[in-house]
């Protein structure tokens, strides 16, 4: 959205006006010095974002039991901010998220993203579906080696050698529930999840077969967590394809 110049000029007047309002309100509350039952509300970001923490947890721990609301804790901040932006502009579709973030200004979204990125809570295991050993092996193959014949890069080639993500924009994949991973890979194929072009993850998801998605989601969800779950430093991987979220332009291939 463009902020237009003349409205920006109007702001000093708005500030002066609000200051006047605040003064008036202050006077009024002093005059009526009666005891009140009004609750004391802490002026913290955590208090302000009750709409987020109701589902994602106060520390962004998500709902590992059901796998429905993803963990946000420790994900790179730029990645989290980008997701809110994608929900805002309709690239990523999920009505409750689109509704909740629809108006938030970039600075506030960045602050919220940094809050969750900074949270450190232990991972907990999510239930795994019954998958065959062969499927798990296939999944593990895709995770660490990919499938060059079908131009499927290894997950690790972008998401980090330990799959803990890479700063600033690549999320970690370890510790995510099976249901969440398979649902996200599916949503890239049905165009309910997208991001800025070139959308490399959409390309990868569309090259996976349905059984590949089951296999890779099961393999990721069953992986042991590395000792250090922090995202790798920026620039520590060279992605095999151009990705808009990493600042690339042009067509992915």
């Amino acid at each position: 959205m463009n902020t237009n110049a003349s409205l920006r000029h109007a702001k000093p007047f708005g500030v002066a006006f609000l200051f006047a309002v605040a003064l008036l309100c202050g006077t009024a509350s002093h005059a009526a010095d009666t005891p009140t039952t009004a609750p004391a509300i802490p002026d913290t970001l955590q208090q302000r974002i009750a709409a987020c923490t109701a589902c994602h947890g106060v520390h962004g721990e998500g709902t590992p039991g059901s796998g429905y609301f993803p963990r946000l804790a420790g994900k790179p901040a730029a990645y989290l901010a980008r997701q809110m932006q994608d929900f805002q502009n309709g690239l990523r579709k999920y009505a409750p998220m689109e509704y909740t973030v629809r108006q938030l200004p970039p600075a506030y979204m960045r602050e919220i993203a940094e809050y969750f990125a900074a949270q450190q809570v232990p991972y907990s295991r999510s239930p795994l579906p019954p998958v065959s050993a062969a499927a798990l092996q296939r999944g593990e193959q895709l995770v660490s080696k990919g499938d060059p014949a079908r131009k499927i890069p290894a997950c690790a080639s972008c998401h980090g050698s330990q799959l803990t993500g890479v700063q600033p924009s690549t999320p970690g994949l370890v510790g995510l529930p099976y249901d969440y991973i398979s649902a996200q890979l599916g949503s890239w194929r049905t165009h309910t999840r997208a991001t800025v072009a070139p959308d490399c993850m959409a390309m990868v998801a569309n090259r996976l077969s349905e059984s590949d998605i089951t296999a890779v989601a099961a393999a990721l969800a069953s992986r042991e967590l590395p000792a250090d779950t922090h995202a790798q430093p920026a620039g520590s991987v060279t992605p095999p394809m151009p990705c808009g979220v990493l600042g690339a332009t042009g067509d992915p291939s």
Binding site: K11, L18, I41, R48, A50, A54, Y99, T100, L104
Partner: protein
């Protein structure tokens, strides 16, 4: 009986003519820019453009004429109505897909008379029922501003209207019932401030398009003004803006109205749902003089007769008692034991017109959806309410909504569990 035959023939002829008029009549030619009474240079006057920018903002043109994630004013979306989807046009000056070839005369014909460039009748999803009151100078400024935008090439989406609404000339009948063309006429008995407020509320602000009930033909009868109504398709209730008790602005001072429109919050309530977007995108940018004028006008609306006190069904007490428990557990921490809210943070529920509006939809949906207070220059990091859709059953939502609608000074009807389930979907717009 020769005269009878002649009469029948005459009637048949009239019917054919009338049918022809309905189906094919009403076309006209656009006014070419070269033939316009407004010189192209006049439209490039920076002062006029700046005035138009302000007016387009407070009229919230972008609210409809922008697609989610799309270029501002470039249309490219459909407005869902009970009669079908109506494409929202591109109003940037692109020659092929926008207003690039339009003259001011064409624009005036649309805004003032509800007719397209070729005389075709426009669907009243475009609120010309209100915009007809906008005066010539303001319309010119808005046109100059729109013509100053960078052109965006964005074709309109296809209309998807059911028969007979798909026949544009069916609007002839609709217009006879609901549309009175004419600029705003100031009331000399009232102050200049009141008249400015009335002009903005009735015209460009198009408040009545949501804050009045629409009938089965999607129109608002001429004598119905800001009485409150359910917004079609969006399933929110836009409350009565008169000073009515239980569902209106009873107890609101002029400053409360100014605060809500400027900051999104007031001592009496917080804007949410579609109004949150209206505040964020539009009313927060209004000048203080215009906000005061609107408050003056709204405060002068005669209080309407009290609605009959709601009947008390046999199970009302049980519902409210159950709701009281839910309230103590989930709501009182922020909204207070007496529904008094926290000044500047959480809205009061006692005496809140959105709690006591006639349907109960607003309170029901707020409990289910939660959400952030409007983002405004005065409140850039708003507090929010958690959604309770996952935590509370339909019965619990109905109970707590019934409780807040019938406790403290609130006297509104009960809400039942059956009334909750249909609002569990989340609106995207």
């Amino acid at each position: 009986m020769k005269w009878l035959r002649w009469l029948l023939l005459l009637i048949a002829l009239l019917v054919v003519l009338a049918l022809g008029w309905v189906l094919f009549g009403g076309g006209s030619r656009p006014t070419p820019q070269a033939a316009s009474k407004v010189a192209a240079t006049a439209l490039r006057d920076p002062a006029l453009i700046a005035k138009g920018e302000y007016l387009a903002t407070i009229g919230d043109c972008a609210g409809c004429h922008t697609a989610q994630g799309g270029a501002r004013y470039a249309g490219g979306r459909a407005l869902p109505t009970p009669f079908g989807d109506i494409p929202v046009p591109n109003i940037t000056p692109d020659r092929e897909t926008g207003l690039g070839d339009w003259s001011f005369e064409d624009f005036w014909q649309a805004l003032h008379s509800g007719k397209g460039r070729h005389g075709e009748l426009l669907y009243p999803a475009f609120s010309y029922t209100s915009y007809t009151k906008v005066n010539h100078d303001d319309a010119l400024a808005i046109f100059a501003y729109l013509q100053s935008l960078a052109p965006v090439h964005q074709p309109a989406v296809a209309p998807a209207l059911a028969f007979p609404y798909s026949v544009r000339n069916s609007l002839k009948a609709w217009r006879t019932l609901y549309f009175r063309e004419g600029e705003f006429k100031p009331d000399p008995a009232q102050s200049a401030e009141w008249n400015r407020g009335a002009y903005l509320v009735q015209g460009l602000g198009h408040c009545n398009e949501c804050h009045a009930a629409r009938d089965s033909l999607g129109g608002t009868p001429q004598d119905v003004h800001l009485t409150g109504g359910q917004i079609p398709m969006q399933n929110w209730y836009a409350p009565d803006l008169s000073t009515r008790k239980n569902g209106g602005l009873e107890g609101w001072g002029a400053q409360d109205i100014v605060d809500l429109l400027k900051t999104g919050q007031s001592a009496k309530g917080t804007a949410f749902g579609p109004m949150a977007t209206v505040v964020s995108d539009s009313t927060q940018h209004m000048s203080d003089a215009d906000l005061r004028a609107i408050a003056t006008y709204l405060q002068s609306l005669p209080p309407r007769g009290q609605p009959a006190p709601p009947t008390t069904p046999f199970d009302a007490r049980t519902l409210a008692e159950q709701g009281g428990k839910v309230y103590a557990k989930h709501c009182a921490e922020c909204h207070g034991k007496r529904g008094e809210g926290v000044a500047g943070v959480y809205p009061p529920l006692d005496g809140n017109s959105s709690v006591t509006e006639p349907t109960g939809i607003n309170a029901t949906r707020m409990v289910l959806l939660g959400g952030f207070a409007p983002v405004t220059a005065a409140n850039q990091r708003p507090y929010s309410m958690p959604p309770f859709a996952q935590q509370l059953s339909d019965g619990e939502v109905a109970a707590v909504v019934t409780y807040i609608r019938r406790t403290w000074s609130n006297q509104a009807s009960i809400v039942r569990a059956e009334g909750v389930s249909k609002y569990r979907h989340t609106p995207v717009e």
